[in-house]
């Protein structure tokens, strides 16, 4: 069915201007970083200025010379994979329990776990820092990963999806004497796959981008993650080596952006469902 626009076409089309401005605000910083990561600092300070047309890979070579960048990328990957796998596992088990089992205190426990969204990192930071210090886990992958192996948002999102599975399906499996674990593995997980993938990607990207906690825990450059490596450049005199900084920015955002481009639809619909009726 073709619908009539709510506002006359000519006036409505004026709204494309502010929308285009929003798009520019979102994309221009990313495109500039990409563009200038391939330019040399000298050419920018030459006659053509910022509009220089040169192309060089020197900035990327500079980074490889200054930092163990491959190791740093692998560290980031290790942390993100561990965090994602554990968060998914704990969230799936918890969501399953909240949807398909009954027990005393269910509602209270659910709200208790979900309310952790409202605990700011500043409140948990000092005690967790002390805990990690007592366990001798400073400057290690485990020290970063340990405090973030469960996630309230994951429990919520997966519970949403599991609630849409018809209860009769599970009852039939139960009458047939199929064990809970097999029901979970063979019936529930396949149905929930799109939302598990999306939730996993969200976990992965957030962990990849994490800044505050690694800053507190990591000490040596070999153990750095990309966020910390990036921060090294913020302390050098502002702006002087900005083409190298832009190359570092491109390295840091490459994986999340590629993941987003591939899984865009999953990610957006999962995010959207966190705010409305599922």
């Amino acid at each position: 069915m073709k619908t009539k626009p709510a506002v006359s076409v000519s006036r409505a089309s004026l709204w494309h201007i502010p929308l285009a401005f929003l798009v520019a605000m979102a994309l221009v910083p990313v495109l500039f970083a990409l563009l200038y990561s391939f330019k040399s600092l000298q050419s920018i300070y030459g006659d053509a200025g910022l509009f220089t047309s040169g192309f060089t890979l020197d900035n990327y070579r500079d980074i490889a010379r200054q930092l163990p960048i491959v190791q740093i990328t692998l560290n980031t990957l290790t942390v993100a994979v561990l965090v994602t796998a554990c968060k998914l596992l704990t969230s799936i088990l918890a969501a399953y329990a909240f949807v398909f089992t009954s027990f005393r205190g269910k509602t209270v426990l659910y709200f208790l776990l979900i309310s952790t969204i409202f605990i700011p990192f500043t409140v948990t930071m000092i005690p967790n820092y002390i805990t990690v210090s007592k366990l001798n886990l400073f400057d290690s992958v485990l020290g970063i990963v340990l405090p973030q192996l469960a996630d309230a948002t994951g429990i919520f999102l997966l519970r949403q999806t599991m609630r849409s599975i018809p209860k009769s399906l599970i009852e039939i499996a139960e009458l047939d004497g199929i064990s809970r674990m097999r029901t979970l593995r063979d019936i529930i997980l396949p149905i929930c796959r799109p939302s598990i993938v999306a939730t996993g990607i969200i976990f992965f990207i957030n962990s990849w981008n994490e800044y505050v906690w690694p800053t507190l825990i990591l000490r040596s450059k070999e153990n750095y993650t990309l966020s910390l490596a990036m921060q090294l450049f913020s302390s050098s005199e502002a702006g002087t080596e900005f083409t190298t900084v832009m190359a570092m920015a491109v390295i840091s955002m490459l994986i999340p952006v590629v993941l987003y481009l591939i899984f865009q639809r999953y990610i957006m619909s999962t995010f959207a469902s966190s705010g409305i009726k599922g």
């Binding site: 626009p5 979102a26 509602t107 426990l109 930071m125 967790n128 469960a150 913020s234 705010g275």
Partner: protein
Amino acid sequence: MSNPFSAGAAALDARGRLRPRTRSGRLTPYLLLAPATVLFAVFMFYPLLYTLYLSFFDWNMTRPTKEFVGFENYISVFTDPNFGKIMGNTALYILLLLLFDFAAPYVFSFILSFVVQKGKNFYKSSIFLPSVISLVVGTMIFVWLLNPISGPVSAIAKALGLTVPIWSNTQGLVIVVLSIITSWKIFGYNFIVVMAGVSSVPLEVVEAARLDNIPTWRIFLNIVVPMSSSTGIYVLILSIVTGMQQIFTPINMVTKGGPDNASTNLIYAVYDQAFGFFKTGTASAYAILMMLLFGFLLFLEFKFVEKSVYYEN
């Protein structure tokens, strides 16, 4: 309206219950929930209580003994000459975050849902893109874009005969720019979430209002906002909860709370006291103030959800 806090009533739905058949079946839920619960207990709830405990002690994280000082840490927080500035800045940050990440996405999601016809998917997917990029990256790019000497913004300004102020050194402006940098990351996410609520308002309702010659801005304020209010309030609260935490990144990377405490706030004060001055007690007192603010937001969420169950369905 099923944001994380709205599902309580439905969770009690009798259809949702499966009767455990055996004794071991009765234990299953607890076994399934044990990993998440234990992790939250150790790394969320215990730290919350321990921070509360630390806020009554004088300590520096390394000394073997903590000295009990009662409410002294809170008194020193409230009598700190910077306290007014910290709270004022926090309020200003919240105001700006609400403007950029709540009000603006709300209006634009209405426009994209009911006013503009073309390019919806393009707008949605490009506006969302920064949400997946680290704020560390975003901050570094903006620092360069806005660099007063060699950045592109100042180059354009120069061509127009204008000069760009050193934003990170200018009272007031520093908070605005730090909020813009943070909003660059969270705008898209909030936009997608609030859009899901706004676009669930039936098109016929908007059409009918249009036929009655009701102006577009009134359709938004008097029809669309009330009909999507639960998603709206969820995003409002989320703007503050995530915004206030995310803003730490650009503050710590660029200004460290400066110049002259002009960009510090409640969240940076905790970090500064804890890891700058090693005053665990005052840091914890600031953290508890932050928790009270977030606790109030949590209360609002519950209160509002109770109402919305009848309202929006």
